[in-house]
Amino acid sequence: MHFPRRSFLTLLTLGAAAALWPLRALAAWVRPDAAFAAKTLDEIYAGLGGTPEPSSEITFLSPEIAENGAVVPVNITSKIAGTDQIAILVEMNPNPLAAVFNFPEGTDTAVQTRVKVAQTCKLHALVRANGKWYSTSRETKVTLGGCGG
């Protein structure tokens, strides 16, 4: 009686290959926890993967003077082709990263929301297009802080 050693080895190899295959699926989007916990802009850029360069193709609207820092409307529109992500940063907040938006194909790369701003500082709009980050910033004066009170 012969043990089919060769076919057994082949089976083993195939099994190992099948077990490794799902690893490819892990490359999908995950929440950038490190960026949300970061306390400085540089740490956030590291967490998001890349320092942004200034761009005039991003329209960023926010009030110059916000009476109530707890509710500051922001409106961001990116005209950069291939935009797939927009992030909002508030420089002087305890954790500057406020929100990240992902845009699938077919969605306008524009978003409007409201954020909390702890004190007068710069707000940054970050845009990722084709794997590169771009940014634009605006100063917002806050007469009443956004954290409790």
Binding site: W29, R31, P32, F36, A70, V71, V72, P73, V90, N93, P94, N95, L97, A98, A99, V100, F101, N102, F103, P104, G106, T107, D108, A110, V111, Q112, T113, R114, V115, K116, G146, C147, G148
Partner: protein, 103 residues
Amino acid sequence: MANPMRIRATTTNGVTEVKALMSHPMETGLRKDSAGVAVPAHYIQQVQAKHNDKVVLAAEWGPAVSQNPFLQFRFNGGAAGDKVSIQWTDSTGDSRTDEIVLA
């Protein structure tokens, strides 16, 4: 289960504009109540908007988004009878989905 959100959507020239107002305290975890005890963090972490079954916007939020968050965005397409749904999940694992039918 939190209060329902208010969603409005209008389609003009093939582009649908969605406005949503969610009902959520968005506690940062840094605020103290009148007794000086820190209020635990409780904020929306993930938001997903769908047009029928297609995801049209996916967002990751931190505690710096305002209380009772407002969100406005636009996507291409949308016809009468189509469904637009928005789902959020917060830091305590609670979640809520609300859906409207385009007019």
